[in-house]
């Protein structure tokens, strides 16, 4: 939307990211961040804001420059990766409101952060993993300095030189492995205490046993020490772990951002008539609150005073604004468009419509938690298999020869208890899941990176897995299949358009904005007066003009046949002009629906809008299964029916009314213009005016799933070959190192093949 439409007389102010990469923010809301200011004992105030829409170098300059231009500000730093803006200033030199306003005026949406929330932002786990990874990398590189001479020159090397090399390896490897292995040891210990086992149990066992065995070999002057293997193992496993953690962290951050945004404020009017900003949580039934034009209703309320229009699109999917007067109930989440109002709170925030939706969302997400990731399934097979193989190796070497002798078989190889332990440890270390640990995260990182470049944000790794299994796509209409905002459909001559737009610039009504969008920038009309639910009057070139409903602007004009959204414009003595608007389909809606069908997916349309509007959209896109006037609970119920029929549904929606359905679906997607709640529950968020990224995401997810399956199959094949070699005692440290590095390289290269995939356009 055009920022100039919102601030008459401020046309020169460029809004949002200059690169055009992100949508310009909604107008500044009257949120007062002063509750979130933190003052330290040196008299310095700090405020942290979550800034949305910053994407490039110019954004940094605009935002930081804008902050530093405010007198009193000491420092401003924007973290582009997380969107956190940290501003410090001398206490009392300015009001925190000025900071939030400056960010909004630059065209970015800003939300104040609870300082306690922002403390949780520091990703401690990620740092620990990165430190362990660095230590493991250092150790595996430096141990090679001692291992390569032993591998290549063992014949020419004297026993004492070899033992010295082993001792040096031990000095580097033992402390490093004990440090870098801690993420695995901790997790293994935690599950063992609960009497279960996960992947980290065989890893920890292999690391500790191999270290002990290698130390024993070194001390006794033996041939084989596996210090290099241990370090490499930890290094490769930690890479997989770190990638996996980064993917999960991204999803967690998105959820936390949403929590921060829900800390909304409201203006409460106390009995003595003083207005004060309070947290929405503090509102009680019966409180009187003031609601400025452009603000979102904080809790379900009844109008006490005033008449206005509300944009309920996010709540119901209805495209056109709803006119409300004294006594009407407005639900939390609706946006007040025209006039400031006084409201009386009906129900506190916990029982508002939004909170009820939040509970529906929670229930849906619990269902999703039952999903088992493919990697976890592989681990469930892997752990018992490896343990029993190692145990079998030890038992057969330790007691097998004796058993055979008592049965009368002679000439068996006797390697004693020492040899039996060596071979069992060789099985543990060679089966160690380097390839398995990298198989899934490597593919998911490449797939999400590829989609990110194409404007699709994938929130978690298992989202890709679920997306790949989808066989039905349920689309919302308003804002998903359509662009969600009206567009001028009538051809007007330039003068009429310019004049009508001048009047429209003084209004927040969606039809007015559409008119301004069509006209481009210009001057607002003089002396505007808006009558909620009717229209707006003003003066253009000193000639009075009216813009609004037929009854308001052109009462003598005939009623038109089609029931499209319309505005009438009367200017001076000229004949009134009718302008009709359509909620335009996304440009590629039809081709995307066709492409989804070609991929064997069933496509359905599920909307809260009127039946006639939904039918029209269904006809235009060729969707045969559609449902209109569905409430949020109906949508969830419909998805449950589909689920019961064994279908795996991808829900695509943008409104608050879709959020619960998004959470209940097998996989979900939201456009970047969706409400925060929907974006937070959706698995993927796609940007831009086109729907094509949806097809791209499904294609990539399916290809990724194929790569994952290949990788897991390869890991299994590798183990089938390696285990007999190890169990028979043929593994040397060189073979172990080659096998480990080789198998990890194969799965990584296979993952990179995704990069070369041809995109659907």
């Amino acid at each position: 939307m055009d920022a100039t439409a919102l601030k008459p007389g401020a046309e020169t102010l460029a809004g949002g990211c200059p690169s055009g990469l992100s949508v310009v923010a909604e107008p500044a809301s009257s949120v007062d961040p002063s509750a979130f200011v933190h003052t330290d004992d040196r008299g310095v105030d700090t405020l942290e804001l979550l800034v949305q829409g910053a994407r490039c170098a110019s954004c940094i300059r605009k935002i930081e420059g804008g902050m530093l231009a405010i007198p009193g500000v000491r420092d401003a730093r924007l973290n582009l990766s997380t969107g956190r803006l940290r501003v410090t200033w001398t206490s009392g030199s300015l009001h925190s409101r000025a900071i939030a306003d400056a960010v909004s005026n630059a065209g970015y949406a800003a939300t104040a952060f609870d300082p306690a929330e922002s403390q949780k932002q520091i990703d401690g786990e990620g740092r620990r993993l990165l430190r362990a990874l660095a230590v493991a990398a250092f150790a595996s590189m430096n141990v090679m300095m001692f291992s390569v001479p032993v591998w290549t020159g063992d014949q020419d090397m004297g026993g004492s030189t070899r033992t010295m090399m082993h001792w040096w390896s031990a000095i580097v490897a033992v402390p490093s492995a004990l440090y870098a292995g801690q993420p695995f040891f901790r997790s293994a210990f935690a599950v063992l205490r609960r009497g279960r086992a996960n992947m980290d149990v065989p890893i920890s066992l292999a690391v500790l046993l191999t270290l002990a065995m290698s130390l024993f070999e070194t001390a006794t002057g033996g041939h084989h020490a596996y210090f290099d293997g241990v370090c490499m193992l930890l290094f490769l496993l930690l890479i997989g772990r770190y990638l996996d953690h980064q993917l999960r962290e991204k999803a967690r951050t998105a959820a936390r951002d949403l929590l921060a945004m829900q800390t909304t404020t409201a203006v409460r009017i106390s009995e003595d008539g003083v207005a004060r900003a309070v947290a929405a949580k503090a509102l009680r039934a019966g409180d009187a609150i003031a609601l400025a034009a452009g603000d979102r209703v904080p809790v379900d309320s009844v109008i006490l005073d005033g008449v206005s229009e509300f944009d309920c699109a996010m709540l119901t999917g209805e495209t056109l604004p709803v006119s409300m007067r004294v006594g009407d109930t407005v639900h939390a989440g609706a946006i007040n468009l025209t006039r400031p109002l006084t409201l009386r709170v009906v129900s506190p925030v916990e029982s508002s419509l939004v909170a009820q939706l939040a509970r529906l969302i929670e229930i849906g997400e619990q269902g999703r938690a039952r999903f088992v990731r493919i990697a976890d399934k592989a681990v469930a097979l892997y752990v018992p298999a490896v343990h029993s193989l190692a145990a079998a190796t030890f038992l057969s070497w330790a007691f097998g020869p004796q058993l055979l002798r008592t049965l009368g078989v002679t000439g068996t190889a006797e390697i004693g208890l020492h040899g039996a332990v060596m071979n069992a440890v060789a099985v543990l270390i060679i089966t160690c899941p380097c390839a398995l640990g990298l198989a899934v995260p490597a593919v998911q990182v490449v797939a999400t990176g590829r989609l990110f470049k194409r404007g699709v944000l994938v929130k978690s790794g298992d989202a890709l897995e679920r997306l790949a299994q989808v066989d039905t796509v349920v689309l919302d209409k308003t804002g998903t299949l359509t662009l969600g905002k009206p567009r001028l459909a009538t051809n007007l001559d330039r003068d009429t358009l310019t004049a009508a737009a001048a009047l429209a610039r003084c209004s927040r009504h969606p039809l007015s904005r559409a008119l301004v969008d069509a006209a481009g920038s210009g001057k607002p009309a003089l002396m505007p007066h808006e009558v909620p639910g009717e229209g707006i009057t003003g003066e253009i070139d000193a000639i009075p003009a009216r813009l609004g409903r037929r009854a308001f602007a052109a009462p003598d004009a005939p009623e038109s046949a089609d029931n499209a959204a319309e505005l009438w414009f009367a200017w001076g003595h000229a004949a009134p002009v009718r302008m009709s608007f359509v909620d335009e389909l996304r440009p590629d809606a039809r081709s995307v629906v066709d492409a989804l069908r070609r991929r064997g997916l069933t496509v359905e349309l599920l909307s809260g809008d009127r039946a006639s509007a939904v039918e029209e959209a269904a006809l235009e896109t060729g969707v045969t299964a559609w449902k209109a006037q569905t409430r949020p609970a109906d949508k969830v119920a419909h998805l449950e029916t589909l689920r019961a029929a064994g279908r795996k549904v991808l829900m695509v929606g943008d409104g608050l009314n879709d959020a619960a359905a998004l959470a209940a679906a097998h996989a979900s997607a939201s456009p970047g213009t969706a409400v925060d709640a929907s974006q937070a529950v959706a698995d993927i968020v796609f940007t831009g005016a086109r729907l094509a990224p949806l097809v791209d995401a499904i294609d990539t997810a399916r290809a990724a799933q194929k790569r994952v399956t290949e990788n897991l199959a390869f890991s299994a094949l590798y183990n089938i070959i390696a285990v007999p070699i190890a169990a028979l005692g043929y593994v040397t440290p060189l073979i172990a190192a080659l096998a480990m590095a080789g198998s990890s390289l194969v799965v990584t290269l296979n993952a990179l093949r995704l990069q070369a995939m041809r995109p659907w356009t």
Partner: protein, 53 residues
């Protein structure tokens, strides 16, 4: 071969220095905003007005 008595400790010490440098940069929050750092290099220092206080 006596030389390896010097070379090995020297090599390990160099590796450890590299590790220490990385751990220091991690502690100094240099990996917190990788995207921002990539873009900030495009900004001229005098693009931003100096702090007023």
């Amino acid at each position: 071969m006596d030389i390896i008595a010097f070379l090995i400790p020297a090599a390990v010490a160099l590796g450890a220095t590299g590790l220490a440098a990385f751990l220091w940069s991690l502690r100094a929050n240099q990996y917190d905003d990788l995207q921002g750092a990539a873009h900030r290099i495009l900004l001229n220092d005098d693009d931003l007005p100096p702090p007023t206080a």
